[in-house]
């Protein structure tokens, strides 16, 4: 399958597509936590790193098959997520953001000092098990599951927490349980993304998973439209391709990201696609067609 694809798509574009896919998985995870449930998590890269290192270590030191490594990466990340999530999300207030920043930093320091993680040099020679097929198969599955989730009872509960946590509680939603659940799923996806990343680049070190990575992923979620899957996809595609296109302004990239967040929040908090709903598109289309028919009946 992979060889077939490589025949049709140039290797450079293939690389970008794989990166988009990995970023999508990361962004969809963060979207569930922040966009849908309204809990700002600023440590997504930390969970990604846990997934990456878990996966890499299992492959390098224990010779585990990729499927096992991938799953273990997700589970480890999710378990850590639950551990720091429960005390933090139990409270009403915005502690999660600070806690996750601190957590990601601690994770970075831990891996920097851990023998088995290669310390400052990181890990290399990771089996290159990630390819276009694997990534996009996962992306499709995750998008489908995600879309289904958001239309269901638990999905509505998550949205209600973002909108008004108190009213959600009064309506019978156990907000703590759902916040932790969203966080667990989101960090699981971060772990998966991390594993895919590690087995694609075949080399990881603690620097790859710094605060700025968390910021990038947040931007992808926010740009397209928080809480909206099509929005997250749009944001991810744009912000994965942009650095390639704008390579010459590399240094100013973060400046731009920072300003973008502020500007978006003030002028278009729902992102590029945020306010537009499927039903609005249907209505506009119906109106457009109505006008056309009226015009033709006048002429005729």
């Amino acid at each position: 399958m992979e060889a077939l694809i490589q025949q049709y798509i140039d290797i450079y574009y293939l690389q970008i597509l794989v990166l988009i896919g990995i970023n999508l998985i990361l962004a969809l995870g963060l979207n569930l936590i922040t966009g849908v449930t309204g809990q700002l998590s600023m440590g997504h890269a930390g969970f990604m790193s846990i997934g990456a290192y878990t996966s890499a270590i299992l492959a390098l030191n224990f010779g585990m098959p990729f499927g096992v490594c991938l799953l273990a990466a997700g589970i480890t990340a999710a378990v850590t997520g639950i551990i720091i999530g429960i005390p933090t999300l139990r409270l009403e207030g915005d502690y999660l953001a600070m806690v996750t920043i601190g957590f990601a930093e601690i994770v970075r320091v831990v891996f920097l000092n851990l023998e088995i993680a290669g310390r400052g040099l990181g890990l290399s020679g990771i089996p290159a098990s990630t390819n276009f097929t694997v990534v996009w198969l996962l992306v499709i599955i995750i998008v489908l599951l995600n879309t289904g989730l958001l239309k269901s009872r638990p999905g509505r509960a998550l949205y209600s927490i973002r909108e008004d946590e108190l009213a959600a509680e009064a309506s019978g939603v156990n907000t703590t349980r759902y916040k932790v659940a969203a966080f667990a799923i989101g960090t699981f996806l971060a772990g998966i993304g991390g594993s895919l990343y590690a087995h694609y680049l075949t080399y990881i070190n603690p620097q790859d998973f710094g605060f700025m990575k968390s910021v990038e992923i947040l931007n992808m979620v926010v740009l397209g439209g928080m809480g909206s899957i099509p929005g997250t996809i749009l944001g991810t595609v744009v912000l994965t391709i942009a650095p390639e296109v704008l390579r010459f302004v590399q240094d100013y990239r973060l400046l731009f990201y920072g300003a973008l967040l502020v500007i978006l929040m003030i002028f278009r908090p729902n992102g590029l696609l945020g306010d537009v709903r499927w039903i609005d598109i249907k209505r506009s289309w119906a109106r457009f067609r109505g006008r056309r028919e009226a015009r033709s009946s006048v002429d005729g």
């Binding site: 922040t34 309204g38 700002l40 600023m42 720091i84 005390p87 933090t88 139990r90 409270l91 207030g93 915005d94 502690y95 953001a97 600070m98 806690v99 920043i101 601190g102 957590f103 930093e105 601690i106 320091v109 000092n113 973002r162 108190l166 605060f211 700025m212 910021v215 947040l218 926010v222 928080m226 240094d251 100013y252 973060l254 400046l255 990201y257 920072g258 300003a259 973008l260 967040l261 502020v262 978006l264 929040m265 003030i266 908090p269």
Partner: protein, 291 residues
């Protein structure tokens, strides 16, 4: 050994306290965690450095200059990035704050490069005093005294002046304060200015104390100061002071008796512990919000 660490801890702790005060005051009045606060502290350190290098002034004037600069910076940030979002969701304001934080730190990297610089030695004459087994440097004394005076000044301002009363009123009930004729926008600006000034002072002092100034110094310091504010009770001014000092002491004891490579983890660990055991902090009241 213990007493030495105590002295070191109090010194470090006073700087944490100065930064923590900014977090707690802003949170108390607009319920926003000002992520950019750490960057304002960093700008303070650089502002002081700039003044010292350009005008060859001493440390006290540098502190003063940095405080003025950061007051303006803090007020500008509030005006541009937070005020437009005051009616919007909490999440929007938080994200905007993160945006400002990234913008400011990247700006400094672009302007001054990512490397560590330091204050020239002439900024302050350092003498050491020996009190029994403890070595105290004049720099430490200066930090303790200056921080102490600033905090005292803050207490006086908050409890004995009209603007202080307005601040307290706003932190209790913003709408009621507005109905009483208090100019809420001005009070909020003032609160930001105050917190930024204190952080700036902390920045200069830390810059001189550790002989290092770099664009990302605000990230860790901000995080730790936030932990300190939560420890003391977020929203409580004496809490921030207490939390800062306590954190400084605990961190120093941790470095001395545990390991130093995980010293940053101490603040984080304390944060989680507080949230687990007593989320309102040491001095915070378990407030029941008005619904």
């Amino acid at each position: 050994m213990f007493w030495q660490q105590l002295v070191n801890g109090l010194t470090l702790g006073s700087t944490y306290a100065l930064i923590a005060l900014g977090y707690t005051m802003v949170y108390g009045i607009v319920q926003l965690i000002n992520f950019a606060h750490g960057e304002i502290y960093m700008f303070g350190a650089f502002a002081g450095l700039f003044l010292v290098l350009t005008f060859k002034i001493n440390i006290f004037l540098a502190i003063l200059g940095a405080m003025i600069f950061c007051m303006l910076l803090g007020m500008t940030v509030e005006r541009v990035a937070y005020r437009p979002l005051r009616g919007s969701s909490r999440l929007s304001a938080l994200i905007s704050a993160i945006g400002v934080s990234i913008f400011l730190s990247t700006l400094m990297v672009l302007v001054r490069g990512p490397n560590v610089t330091s204050y020239p030695a002439e900024v302050m004459e350092i003498a050491t005093y020996n009190l029994g087994a403890i070595e105290v440097s004049s720099l430490q004394v200066m930090i303790l005294v200056t921080a102490g005076l600033l905090m005292l000044g803050l207490e006086v301002l908050v409890h004995r002046t009209k603007i202080g009363k307005a601040m307290r009123a706003c932190s209790q009930d913003l709408d009621a304060a507005r109905l009483m004729g208090i100019h809420v926008d001005r009070v909020i600006s003032f609160t930001f200015a105050l917190g930024s000034a204190l952080a700036a002072a902390g920045g200069v002092m830390v810059g001189v104390y550790y002989n290092a100034v770099q664009p990302y110094m605000g990230v860790m310091a901000g995080l730790k100061a936030f932990a300190a504010a939560v420890l003391g009770g977020i929203g409580s001014i004496p809490g921030a002071m207490l939390g800062g000092l306590a954190l400084g002491i605990m961190e120093n004891l941790g470095i001395a008796y545990l390991s130093s490579s995980y010293k940053d983890a101490i603040a984080f660990g304390i944060l989680i512990l507080v949230l687990l055991v007593r989320p309102q902090g040491l001095l915070g009241r378990a407030t029941t919000k008005k619904v």
